[in-house]
Each structure stands twice: as C-alpha cells, then as structure tokens.
C-alpha cells in the first residue's frame, strides 16, 4: 500500500482494551499495510457531544482535523468514533464554512476497521482461523450510522474453520450507550441481559463485536453472569490464528 494510513485509537481501547489496538496492528501488518499512529491524537469528543456540549465538542473536532487531515485514510476500531468524525463533525460547523469543508473532506477518508479492510483494501480473507460457531452483534453506530454490517460478516465467514450463526435481534442495542449505562443501569442491564440471552440461544462459541463500548458492556456482563462465554472485538477475532482465544 502506498497510501498513508493513520490509526485512530479510541480512548476506551487506549486505556482499557489496549490489546484490541495491538490486534489491529498485527492484522494490518499481516496484510502488509503500513500504518502510523499519530502521537498527538486525543479523543473524538463523543462523550461531551452526546451529553449535549456541542461547543466543547468543536475543540475535539478541530484537534482531530489538525492531527489527521494530512492522511489518505484514517482507520479506527470503533463504529461510534468513526461515525462521530464522519457524520457529526460536519454538523458541528454549520456556522463556519471553512471548518465545515475541512470536516467534510475528512468524512470521506475515515473508516471503521472492518470497513477499511473490505471496502478499501478489498480484503475478505485475512488469514484468520477459528474453529467454532461465531455470532456477530451489529453495533448501532456501525450498522445504522455507517451502514457497516456485511463487511464484518464477510471477514468472519472467510476465517478458517468458522461457522457464522444467526444472532436473534442481532441489531438491537446492547444497552451501553456510553453514559446511558451508568445513568440508567437498570434499563441498561435489562438490555444487555437480553443481548446475552440471544448469544446463549444462538449456540455460538464466540460472540464478535465491532465496537469497544459494546465489548465492555457485554463482556463484563458475561464475565459476571455466564463465565466462560466469550466476546471478542473483530480485530481480536481476525488476529486469531489456530487457537480458540485471540487474547
């Protein structure tokens, strides 16, 4: 690849789930993609934006553009952060045509990880292998905001030994929603338990998601209530080679 590709690593991955970032690195490397990690990156600003602090979110957007604008492609292992940049940033600058244009230019060059692999690199088989049944949870922003739901499935199906099984209500929200899960824990718990139930019912050996937030939510719920039932990020899954556990 001659393009300059940058990695944008969400806060949740950086702080809590760094191995997802490492998995992204390894998978890209396996596919001969040279990626850079711009050191000055901070955060997409989704947290403040979703609370309703639009003005503050503009600082995040401005900084993001400063850092990433010079790259041909920006890859991010999170659907919601990608959607924030792609869809929310332009709307933050309705009163600033210059900034709006910068945001729009960026919007066309930011990709969620699986989307980047399939749509940009044209890859389907990443060389991953996992023997067992896998269910895929469609994260809200990934599937409905970015329209990414076939790409991860294509990648999962191509993995050696993997059978992709149906997850009932697979595109129903797992109840994370960032601050939502903390402000409305009871509702959030009811939602994640419904998701866990679908997973159990699906008969899958492994649940794969494309969103770190969902991973945290579903993962910590499973750990407490259904120990042994595993959930992996799509990058971790694609990083699996031969074993049953990519971690």
């Amino acid at each position: 690849m001659m393009n300059k590709t940058a990695l944008f690593i969400p806060c949740s991955v950086n702080l809590l789930l760094p191995w997802i970032g490492e998995a992204v690195d390894r998978v890209l490397k396996r596919l001969d993609v040279v990626s850079v990690y711009p050191d000055r990156q901070t955060c997409c600003g989704q947290m403040v934006y979703n609370k309703g602090f639009f003005n503050e979110a503009r600082s995040f957007a401005t900084h993001f553009l400063d850092v990433f604008e010079s790259f041909d492609a920006v890859v991010c292992p999170s659907g919601s952060c990608t959607a924030m940049v792609k869809h929310r940033y332009p709307s933050l600058f309705d009163d600033d045509p210059k900034m709006k244009q910068r945001a729009l230019d960026m919007a066309g060059r930011v990709f969620e990880f699986s989307q980047y692999l399939v749509d940009v690199l044209g890859v389907t088989d990443t060389g991953a292998s996992f023997s067992g049944k896998v269910a895929y949870h469609d994260s809200c922003h990934l599937s409905r905001d970015l329209g990414v739901s076939l790409q991860p499935r294509t990648l999962i199906r191509a993995a050696q030994g993997t059978e992709l099984v149906v997850l009932n209500n697979g595109d129903q929200c797992c109840g994370f929603g960032g601050e939502f899960s903390v402000s409305y824990p009871d509702i959030s718990t009811a939602m994640v338990s419904a998701k866990a139930q679908s997973y159990l019912d699906s008969g899958a050996d492994l649940l794969v998601v494309g969103e770190p937030g969902c991973l945290l939510n579903i993962g910590t719920y499973l750990e407490k209530n259904h120990p042994g039932k595993q959930v992996l990020h799509i990058a971790e899954f694609l990083d699996c080679q031969g074993g049953e556990n990519g971690r």
């Binding site: 702080l15 901070t42 600082s59 995040f60 929200c173 402000s183 409305y184 719920y221 750990e223």
Partner: protein, 467 residues
C-alpha cells in the same frame, strides 16, 4: 392527563419487574416489528415509498401555514365549522360549551392521542358529562384509570382477569371470563347501546387534506366510523401538523401509516369526511366541528431544528423497535406520547425541565430513525434537546448545566487539544475510577450485574511507543 414524566426511573423499574408487561414486551414487540417489515414489502419499492413519504411530510410541514388556510377554506366551503385553539384550554372549553349548548347527555370518543394531550375527559367529567372511550383498548384503560401502554394497544398488557373484574363492575358483564373474545363481546354489547343513542361523537384526525378540506381517519374496530356516522354532532380534533396537500399525498401516507404501523395493507376502515351530512342523507353528523389545535406546536415550528418533529404521522413503528421501550413499556413516558416520538414530543410540549429522563435515557441507537416513514431523526433531536437543556434555553425551559458538568466539559475541551495534558488526565482519571469506581453508587449499580473492567498496566499508546 396528569404529567408523570418525572417518575420515569421508578416507573421503568416497576415495569421491568412486571410479568404482565414483560410478556408483552418480550414477545409482541418483536412480532409487531416483523409484521411491519412484511407489510412494507407490499410496496413495489419500499425504500422509494419511504423516501416519497418523507418528502411529502417535509413539504407539508414546510408549507404548514398556507396549507392550513387552504384546508380551512375548503372545509368551511364543504359545510364544516373550523375552530382554532391555541391551547388545550380553548379546545376543551369549546367542546364543553358545545356539549352544554346542545344538552348532550354523554359523549363517545374514538381513539385519539390528541384528546389525551388535551385532558378532555377530565374537563368533561368535571362538567358532569359522562365520556365513553369506544376503542376497546382505550375503553379498558379508561375503566381501569390507567394511562395507555402502547399507541396501538393501549391495554395490550392488561391481564384478562383484571379486565374481567372491571367489566363486571363497570360495564355490565354478568359472569367472569378470561377469554379475550368473550370480553370483547361484552365491550361490544355495552358500547353498542351508546352508539345507538349517541348525540355527540369525538374523534381525532389522522390526516387533513388541504385541497379538499377533508379529514381522514384510520381504524380497525369501526368505533370511529360510528362516531362519525351515528351522532348529530361530530367533533374532530386535529393537531395542526396533520395536514397533507392533496388526496394523492393522503393516499400514499395512508398506505404508509397502515403498512409501517400495524403491517396491514390497509386497516379495516379508512374514512374520508368532507363536510357534514348532505341534504337528504340518512346518517352522518348534521354539524361537523373541526378543531385545529396548536398547544405549543407553532413554537416548535419556529425553530427549524425542532420543526421536524411535526412530520410524525403516529405510525408507532419507532416505538416497537426502540430497545429502551422494549424493556420498560409505555408507562414511564408519563404523558400522551411514548417511545422515541414521546422522547421528543413530551419534552417539546411540556418543557425540558420536567422531562429530563425522556431525552436522557437514550443510547442513540438510531433504530427509530431507521424505520420512521416521516423522516424524523430522533437521535439528533434528542442531542439537540440535551444541548438546549444545558444551555438553559428559555423557550424550551432548559434547566442549565451543573457546575460539575461545566467543569468536566470545559476541562475535557481544554485537554482535547493538548495531547500531553489529555494523556496524563486520562491515565489519572481511569486510575482513580478503577480505585474508587466500584464504590461509587452509580458504578455499583453497573457492577451489580457486571464486573468492573480492570485497568491494564499499559495503555495502547505506551505499548506502541515502547513495545
């Protein structure tokens, strides 16, 4: 109708623990959504049909003032009387005076969200005028004095023994039964007598056609038809956004309303009224009163960001797919409208200060927006409401932000452009959270059913720099 939007969290907890609600929510909502998907396939190109519907609603709302004037002119020409009510009080008084002027012994009503919004039943009750809801679901919850659970099935969660009890007590049923068919028959018998002797019927309006001055209603039971056929006086209340430009648009939107709502190609009955009964006709109202209700909508209209909510046609699709509604049902929304559309309409009509949990308790999953045939972007508007609330917007009665919220967001925004500060703060923050987190009351609610994520020794950033 009482405003109970502030007990959202407690009501939600109650509902999540209620087996009756659970059965309905877990089973029927997914079924309703599936039926909707089948219904939509009867359009030759469902996506194009949705796009057309969205365009019709957008343009109708855009031309609202002009279309309302045209509608009024044509409705009056056809013999209807049109009354403009700026608020619920004006509408209620108009109806009450009509009832008193004609010495109406009781009134019957077809199902309408709008009269819930008006609180009309309470006003008539105070006037000593009995009101009979005639939609089966509405009839049941009226007898039980409960709010509607769902826009399409107001009483769908009520156990049959409860219905049986209240029917025996208040609707003349002789012997107990838990058979829905027997209960339905009992309601039919009771209400039939009301239809037989009714003198004033009240309905809502699903659509008002500007070009012809007609009003259109959609239903399955036939109660609205009775309310429009049997009495001497018909009062139809429409919120002002119900307008569509012409008959062709009305037909397309009717298709959409039915197929996207109940999944039926068309509901059992669709009626289009143009003026009252004509000379020589045997039935139909001698007087047709159409009330155009504002009740805060022209203010919503004034802000082009909130205006979009007026495109809603109340199909209910967003409610059925909402993952939060699927857990808590309709009661927590605490007022006339529930589900995603209730998260917008209730705050916009009641004020942001007492509806915080409505626009708060949303994961922004966009399931609602995806199925909305009216082109409403609920999540974006929810964010807008959050923003207006923090900004203490005077029109929408925002509360303003707390000191802590301001501090957090300002600090974050400051650090966002300063990588070093950001990283130090983020590390420190997550370290503190990991130490203190499990004790914090909010976090302990999370950890009740989940483990608390442990903090890895190194961040990704550290690993990348010093592998």
């Amino acid at each position: 109708m009482d405003v109970k939007t502030q007990s959202y969290v407690t009501e939600a907890k109650k509902e999540m623990a209620s087996p009756a609600s659970r059965t309905f929510l877990d089973f029927f909502l997914p079924v309703l959504s599936a039926v909707r998907e089948i219904g939509m396939t009867s359009f030759p190109d469902p996506a194009a049909a949705v796009e057309r519907a969205r365009a019709i609603r957008r343009s109708s709302v855009d031309r609202l003032g002009e279309l309302l004037e045209t509608f009024e002119r044509n409705a009056v020409k056809a013999g209807a009387r049109v009354f403009w009510a700026e608020n619920a009080h004006e509408a209620n008084i108009y109806i009450r005076d009509l009832v008193n002027r004609h010495r109406i012994p009781y009134v019957t009503k077809g199902k309408s969200m709008i009269t819930e919004e008006l609180g009309l039943n309470e006003v008539l009750k105070k006037n000593q005028t009995p009101v009979y809801e005639t939609d089966l679901g509405e009839f049941i919850i009226q007898l039980l004095e409960k709010p509607p659970f769902h826009i399409i099935g107001p009483a769908i969660n009520i156990p049959t023994d409860e219905i049986s009890r209240v029917f025996m007590e208040k609707a003349g049923m002789d012997s107990a039964s838990t058979d829905p068919v027997v209960l339905g028959q009992a309601a039919r018998n009771f209400l039939r007598d009301k239809f037989r002797h009714m003198r004033l019927g009240i309905t809502g309006v699903n659509m008002a056609v500007a070009e012809t001055g007609s009003i259109l209603n959609v239903e399955n039971e036939g109660n609205i038809r009775f309310n429009k056929s049997a009495p001497g006086i018909q009062v139809s209340v429409m919120s002002l956004e119900k307008i569509v430009p012409n008959l062709d648009d009305a037909l397309h939107m009717t298709r959409m309303l039915c197929r996207n709502g109940t999944g039926q190609k068309l509901t059992s009955y669709v009626t289009l009224d143009t003026g009252p009964r004509k000379q020589g006709e045997k039935d139909g109202p001698e007087e047709l009163h159409i009330i155009i209700l504002d009740n805060g909508r022209s203010r919503i209209y004034d802000d082009i960001k909130t205006r979009e909510v007026l495109q809603c046609i109340r199909c209910g699709a967003c409610i059925n797919v909402c993952p939060v509604f699927r857990q808590i049902g309709g009661y927590p929304y605490g007022w006339a409208y529930t589900g995603p559309i209730g998260k917008l309409l209730n705050p916009l009509l009641l004020g942001l200060d007492r509806t915080r949990d409505l626009y708060g308790a949303c994961t922004l999953c966009k399931a609602c927006k995806t199925v909305c045939p009216a082109g409403i972007d609920h999540p974006s508007m929810i964010l807008y409401l959050r923003n207006k609330n923090l900004a203490a917007d005077p029109v929408l009665q925002g509360e303003g932000s707390t000191f802590a919220e301001r501090l957090m967001s300002k600090t974050a925004a400051f650090a966002a452009t300063r990588p070093r500060t950001w990283n130090t703060a983020a590390r420190l923050g997550s370290f503190l959270a990991s130490k203190l987190g499990p004790c914090h009351p909010l976090v302990s609610a999370w950890t009740l059913k989940r483990t608390f994520p442990s903090l890895p020794p190194k961040t990704y950033r550290d690993l990348r720099k010093h592998p």
